[in-house]
């Protein structure tokens, strides 16, 4: 019983640290290259007249 509690406490310490690390990563600004990439992909499709649904093979 006591062991289970210890493990839960240990796991919650680990998960809270993990969440904090993950949140820090989420807070990082997204580099412009990705936004540019998405807009390039979109432009390409518009030029070739394709939409997402029609891109079906």
């Amino acid at each position: 019983m006591a062991q289970g509690q210890e493990k839960r406490q240990r796991d919650s310490v680990i998960d809270e640290n993990l969440k904090k690390v993950y949140e820090d990563m989420l807070d990082q600004e997204v580099p412009d290259r990705f936004l540019e990439l998405l807009s390039q992909l979109k432009d390409q499709d518009e030029k070739s007249g394709k939409t997402g649904r029609e891109a079906d093979e």
Binding site: V13, E16, Q28, L38, A55
Partner: protein
């Protein structure tokens, strides 16, 4: 003109990068992988089922990219910086205090499958079932990977010592003690 589900991709960029970083442990590799995944997602959008979880779909594409690179390389691909081989802090006496840097180092020592399971379930908030679907393994496999990952972290961080629960990082302390700092969500 109907809404293009691809317009939603941009909202998941921070999460994709975070997941990529936790898999590769290397910033530039992570971003290259995100780029590959974005192009794949864009061109394979017809495989996305509208109404399902787009983040899970994107994460699946990203991890497939990672594991296919790993297969090609014949080893874990994220170790270019030698992060994995870096030894855990050699500070003299272990004073029972957990620093974020120590936590990061320990996390980086987990194997791919363990890091992945922990990030999906422990950090990103996916259910065991969702994570199992994304990793294409049984639910029990995800559960045992997260359990083993936590046990390994505890071992690396000497969390079995009673005093180890005393954290020095202020934000972490606040989180653990239940005084959650205000977050955006």
């Amino acid at each position: 003109m109907s809404a293009d589900p691809r317009d939603e991709i941009v909202e998941h960029l921070p999460a994709l990068r975070a997941f990529a970083l936790s898999l590769t442990r290397n910033g530039s590799l992570a971003d290259d992988m995100v780029q590959d995944a974005l192009v794949k997602a864009w061109t394979k959008i017809h495989t996305f089922e509208p109404g399902t979880n787009m983040r899970a779909w994107l994460f699946t594409i990203l991890r497939n990219t990672y594991y296919s690179n790993r297969r090609k390389a014949g080893r874990e691909v994220g170790d270019a910086d030698g992060l994995l081989t870096e030894t855990l802090s050699e500070k003299p006496a272990h004073d029972g205090r957990l620093q974020m840097a120590d936590f990061m180092r320990a996390f980086q020592k987990l194997n791919d499958e363990q890091r992945e399971a922990l990030v999906l379930v422990g950090a990103s908030g996916f259910s065991y079932e969702e994570a199992a679907g994304m990793c294409n393994v049984a639910v029990g496999t995800i559960k045992s990977r997260t359990n083993r990952a936590r046990a390994r972290l505890a071992e690396l961080l000497h969390l079995s010592d009673d005093e180890a629960f005393e954290l020095t990082d202020q934000a972490t302390l606040a989180v653990v003690s239940g005084n959650k700092p205000a977050t955006a969500r």
